[in-house]
């Protein structure tokens, strides 16, 4: 193809700048600015003074003829970024719950992905389809299903009642939130693990066995190192949506177990309307996630280098 064909990307580049770059830049701008009101001479107004002026203007002046008695200004500030530190417990709680959910997904998903990858081709496809099928249902419906199961007089408590235990308070707890994350994002762990493991040649495993390795050593010296890239991408694919969710915590956590996502939602569409603070929290979340991802990528690269050096 000729070098002229690179101009085919021009419409997309424009799109990318308007809808990816500028919105993210707006988050940064909002995070570091705030709106203040000044009188016409440029003196800063306190909230009370501003309210007074506004009410006076609304009540006594005809809107069409008169100039506003105050001016709106956007000024640089660090207050919103500092304010995020008030929410450190919420941030830590989100990260903690997401780590637990990711760990459980890895523990459940790893053996399953391995078992699937050792099956016959037709069965592999069938099993993969069964893993993906729930993923295609909207996650709101899947989470709603758990509301039905976990309620105080829900199905699980009824079942437990039959054997004479319970009822337990299961919904509106942190455990329920973690369960919701595991249930929703488990397929995101299984799929990347499977796609790496299906490339592991059975003969490699047999060779290790022939050379005298027991199952534990086959796992730790052959299967685990070869599947590391899948582990890394599975962890990212579960951790990122878990740490930033706001619906799972609202539906299963009952609003008392606030996560970062809920906090951001509150600032934009909730009662605490404050887009500047919301942007500051979003920025912190974004930076945190990019840092985590560069760490997992690093781990991955180091593993590859070790492998290369051994060879």
């Amino acid at each position: 193809m000729t070098s002229k064909s690179k101009f085919l990307a021009a419409p997309y580049l424009l799109w990318m700048i308007i809808f990816i770059v500028i919105p993210l830049a707006l988050i940064v701008v909002f995070a570091f600015t705030t709106t203040v009101y000044t009188d016409l001479e440029g003196n800063l107004l306190s909230n009370e003074e501003f309210d007074e002026l506004r009410i006076e203007y609304d009540n006594f002046y005809d809107m069409a003829d008169n100039e506003l008695p105050y001016k709106k200004q956007t000024v640089f500030t660090l207050t919103h970024i500092m304010e995020v530190s008030n929410y450190v417990p919420v941030l830590l709680n989100s990260v903690w719950l997401a780590i637990i959910a990711t760990a459980i997904c890895l523990l459940i998903g790893y053996p399953l992905a391995y078992l699937i990858s050792r099956m016959r081709y037709g069965f592999q496809k069938l099993m993969l389809m069964m893993v993906m099928l729930p993923m295609w249902m909207n996650f709101l419906l899947r989470t709603y299903a758990w509301m039905t199961l976990l309620e105080r007089n829900g199905w699980i408590n009824k079942l437990l009642g039959l054997v004479g235990i319970g009822p337990f308070d299961m919904i509106n707890t942190q455990g329920a939130v973690v369960l919701g994350m595991v249930y929703n994002y488990l397929p995101y762990m299984i799929l990347p693990l499977y796609s790496i493991m299906t490339k592991i040649d059975n003969r490699t495993i047999e060779a290790a066995q022939d050379l005298g390795a027991n199952s534990l050593r086959v796992f730790s010296k052959v299967v685990l190192p070869l599947s590391m890239p899948g582990v890394a991408s599975g962890i990212t694919m579960v951790f990122v949506p878990s740490v930033s969710t706001f619906i799972i915590s609202r539906m299963l956590g009952g609003g008392t177990n606030m996560l970062i996502g809920d906090l951001i939602d509150l600032q934009f569409l909730g009662n605490a309307y404050n887009p500047n603070l919301g942007s500051a929290i979003s920025l912190v979340l974004l930076v945190f996630i990019l840092l985590c991802m560069s760490i997992t990528n690093q781990l991955n690269n180091e593993d590859n280098m070790d492998g290369g050096m051994l060879l």
Binding site: M1, T2, S3, S5, K6, F7, A9, P11, Y12, W15, M16, I18, F19, I20, V21, I22, P23, L24, L26, F30, P111, L115, Y121, G122, K125, L126, M129, M130, V131, M132, L133, P134, W136, M137, N138, L140, L141, R142, A145, W146, M147, T148, L149, N153, G154, W155, Y183, L186, T236, V240, P241, S244, I264, P275, G278, S279, S282, L285, I289, M293
Partner: protein, 261 residues
């Protein structure tokens, strides 16, 4: 023994994945409004669902938005992929990195950033902003599916077509496009799926009158009792099951013909 325990393990995990969905489906036939007391078999919730205008409207909205957004995203993304493919290494990797942003960003950050943009530009939130937002998060999937196909393609095919008398347009549409078609189709299908399924980004960019199905489902689940949600889940489940079965049976047959069993 080993085989038995691994079968048991798989049964447990799949049970975990499917039991909640089956509970929803069973409840969709429950005459009682309560989610937990069974009082008899009924089709009422299905009838109510098909007479519920809010749901039907949002279904129509969802499909219209998904089709428009994924068609535009596919055209924009395919052109972009060809352009990016022909760029120098530095610009190429910069653009690909920015393209990845909507995929690695938490959805809530993408949603909030687009909301800020629309408010900043004074565009009323509605169907238009939903389409713009959906195109934005779909294009990267098209680009990332088409680029590998371009790399796999023999670079000399285009020149060969020109040598054999094609003009550049013919060479492009008769040689390049068919070569990268599988990537374009995968990108389009992924776009349509993500668009239909998206809740978080739509939640921040929709207006009061432009609800999509996931947003309507969200407002229904907030009410204590809404058995229509169960009926809707059952229908969605069956539709997805049929689509996946057809796709997989075809794929397995193709695999058998190739002899990868």
């Amino acid at each position: 023994m080993k085989k038995l325990s691994s079968k048991l393990y798989m049964a447990l995990v799949f049970g975990f994945l499917y039991i909640p969905i089956f509970v929803l489906i069973i409840n969709s036939f429950n005459a009682s409004k309560s989610r937990t007391v069974w009082t008899g078999f009924t089709f009422d919730w299905y009838k109510k669902l098909f007479n519920n205008e809010v749901i039907l409207n949002s279904l129509v909205n969802t499909l219209i938005i998904a089709v428009i957004a994924s068609v535009i995203a596919t055209i924009l993304g395919t052109a972009a992929a060809i352009g990016i493919f022909n760029m120098k290494r530095m610009t190429k990797s910069l653009i690909i990195n920015i393209t990845y942003l909507p995929i690695i960003n938490p959805e809530i950050v993408t949603g909030v950033s687009l909301m800020l943009l629309f408010v900043f530009l004074n565009i009323d939130l509605g169907v238009v902003t939903l389409v713009l937002a959906h195109i934005t998060f779909c294009v990267p999937y098209v680009i990332l599916n088409v680029l590998p196909k371009l790399h796999q393609m023999n670079r000399h095919l285009y020149e060969a077509a020109m040598d054999l008398g094609c003009n550049p347009m013919q060479a492009f549409f008769k040689v390049i496009i068919p070569e990268i078609m599988p990537g374009i189709i995968t990108g389009f299908l992924m776009s349509i799926t993500y668009s239909i399924d998206d809740f978080v980004i739509s939640y921040f960019t929709h207006g009061a009158t432009s609800q999509t199905l996931p947003i309507t489902i969200f407002s229904m689940t907030r009410r204590k009792v809404s058995p229509e949600v169960n009926a809707l889940s059952a229908i969605i489940f069956v539709v997805i099951l049929v689509v996946l079965l057809i796709m997989n049976i075809r794929e397995i047959r193709a695999g058998k013909e190739r002899g990868d069993v």
